[in-house]
């Protein structure tokens, strides 16, 4: 039913500093994400997950393989670096709302820049999307005046205003406390339910991954590639009581071993480097 937002990652290789230290960050990584799917990428810190995200977003080049979005090549042979575009919007770990613009100017930024909507039209759309997300009454505030949880939600609305095929989320809830996090998860699923956009979500929190995702890819520690890809067969809409379900716990048991293994490897590697 959903035709936009299919990602095909094939044999992607990324080497940092190829002439010098030649650190292999991503090694022949392949992953298929269906249109309208929430794909969770789980792996230890510094394993190369963000490198993959940057390659899709077009912030970094790759050294081999290819990435296709809806059959079109973003990067691959002959084109090392994808061009950033409004079909792939990143929500950053520390947030990237422009501090000097108030909420409404932040949210309307994309469509106005692309010339898709006039400022007035963009404001109308922004107001209704923010109302949908339960974010009314803050449009004239600066991001610095909002709590970090509200800032993340505003940023996701800003991303959706671009009508992207894919949302790329780079550990967006990492800095939040666990109570706020659970609220954020439900609000993200609510947004997903309304927009059915493909979500590429990086995290190192397995419970978060299983709660949100319908596909979970557990990555190896550097160099990064999928170690185990599984489908979470718990139907949407999900609410937070899911985490105590039998099926959820079975999935946790199935996967936590693999995640723990990689975490240990990454830790050991870190000790060597240090």
């Amino acid at each position: 039913m959903k035709t936009r937002g299919q990602i095909r990652i094939k044999d992607v290789v990324k080497i940092y500093d190829p002439e010098g230290a030649a650190v292999m960050a991503v090694d022949h990584c392949s992953l298929e994400i269906a249109a309208g799917e929430i794909c969770m990428i789980v792996g230890p810190s510094g394993c190369g997950k963000t490198t993959l995200l940057n390659a899709i977003a077009g912030f970094h080049s790759i050294n081999g393989g290819s990435i296709h979005l809806d059959g079109e090549m973003l990067c691959g042979p002959g084109k090392q670096k994808a061009s950033p575009g409004s079909d792939r919007i990143v929500v950053f770990q520390n947030g990237a709302l422009f501090p000097w613009k108030n909420v409404i100017d932040n949210v309307t930024f994309g469509p106005v820049m692309q010339g898709k909507l006039s400022l007035a039209e963009a404001k109308d759309k922004a107001r209704s999307m923010m109302a949908d997300a339960g974010l009314s009454g803050i449009e004239n505030n600066f991001p610095g005046e909002l709590s970090s949880g509200v800032r993340r939600r505003v940023e996701i609305v800003r991303a959706l205003m671009n009508d992207p095929a894919v949302l790329l989320l780079d550990e967006p809830y990492r800095a939040l406390d666990s109570l706020t996090k659970s609220v954020m998860h439900e609000s993200l699923l609510d947004i997903y339910d309304k927009n059915k956009v493909t979500i590429f979500f990086i995290t190192h929190d397995l419970q978060e991954a299983l709660f949100l995702g319908n596909k979970v890819a557990i990555m190896t520690s550097r160099p990064c590639k999928p170690k185990k890809v599984l489908t979470v067969d718990i139907p949407y809409p999900r609410n937070y009581s899911v985490v105590t379900d039998k099926r959820f716990r079975e999935l946790m048991e199935e996967t936590s071993e693999a995640v723990h293994e990689e975490a240990k490897k990454s830790f050991a590697a870190g000790e060597r480097e240090g």
């Binding site: 977003a57 077009g58 912030f59 950033p84 575009g85 409004s86 792939r88 919007i89 990143v90 950053f92 520390n94 947030g95 990237a96 422009f98 501090p99 000097w100 613009k101 108030n102 930024f109 994309g110 820049m113 692309q114 600066f142 991001p143 610095g144 671009n162």
Partner: protein, 272 residues
């Protein structure tokens, strides 16, 4: 407005400030009236005229147009030097920040010239510029210029990469990124640089006026608060030296407050 002034006047930090100033004045008064304390001479403060005699010297000056023209002349030099420093320094810093080639060509020379104190430029600029007035303005300009450029450059370079990436993803052109990310992202640093630069211009203008005689010999208009202090020193009026010093303090305070409030006006998002 009136409420906020009232709040300011009755706040505990304002009260502390006022009390501290009064205690300081009292201490100064006592020290300069009694040169010897238990047979020991009070160091430097004992040699300075007492606040009451300073005020006595000041009161007739308040009516003296010559005194106020010194204020006017110094302020004019400070603000013209400062204004040119802003007008040239901000674009200059921005070009260094966004253009690698320009940075490579200009920055080394800039870094060699920067440590030279503005006052070291005084003799050269007296030779170089046709009037003393212009040489004072030039030295004042230099005082603020380096600070402003360094702040603009540092501010623009420290804008987080994420903002550029987000703007690019959302379809911004290079010009949009400059106008909507680089410029607003640098404004807080410009405000800081301007406030610091303003302080330096006052330091510089006073010294420059003393050294170049306020432009009087070279047919300039002469005067200025620095010249006033120097003249009082030559004339042996120690009270007036202190009057001049405090006048500069007040003038600098007012200028900084103006610059700070302009800065706050342009950076509403940094207000807490």
């Amino acid at each position: 407005m009136i409420r906020s002034i009232k709040k300011y006047l009755t706040s505990s930090s304002t009260r502390r400030g006022i009390i501290a100033v009064i205690i300081f004045l009292l201490f100064w008064e006592i020290c300069s009236r009694f040169h010897l304390w238990f047979g020991v001479q009070v160091p430097w403060i004992g040699k300075i005229p007492a606040p009451t005699s300073v005020v006595q010297a000041w009161i007739p000056l308040l009516d003296d147009a010559g005194y106020w023209s010194n204020w006017y002349l110094s302020a004019k030099r400070v603000f013209s030097g400062f204004l040119f420093a802003m007008l040239i320094g901000i674009p200059f810093g921005l070009i260094l920040a966004i253009n690698r080639t320009a940075y490579g060509i200009i920055f080394p020379t800039f870094e060699v010239l920067r440590p030279i104190p503005p006052l070291a430029w005084v003799p050269a600029s007296i030779i170089f510029w046709p009037t003393a007035e212009m040489s004072i303005a030039f030295v004042t300009f230099l005082g603020a210029f380096y600070t402003i450029v360094i702040n603009v450059l540092g501010g623009a370079q420290s804008i987080d990469q994420r903002y550029f990436q987000a703007a690019k993803s959302m379809g911004s052109s290079q010009w949009d990124i400059f106008k909507r990310i680089v410029l607003p992202g640098t404004v807080p640093s410009i405000a800081v640089g301007a406030a610091v630069g303003m302080g330096i211009t006052w330091e510089v203008v006073v010294a420059a006026e003393m050294i170049s005689g306020g432009g009087s010999q070279s047919g300039g208009s002469g005067g200025g608060l620095g010249f006033f202090i120097w003249n009082s020193y030559l004339g042996g009026s120690y009270q007036q030296i202190v009057v001049g010093m405090i006048s500069i303090g007040i003038a600098g305070y007012i200028s900084s407050a103006i610059i700070r409030s302009i800065g706050e006006y342009f950076t509403p998002w940094t207000r807490r």
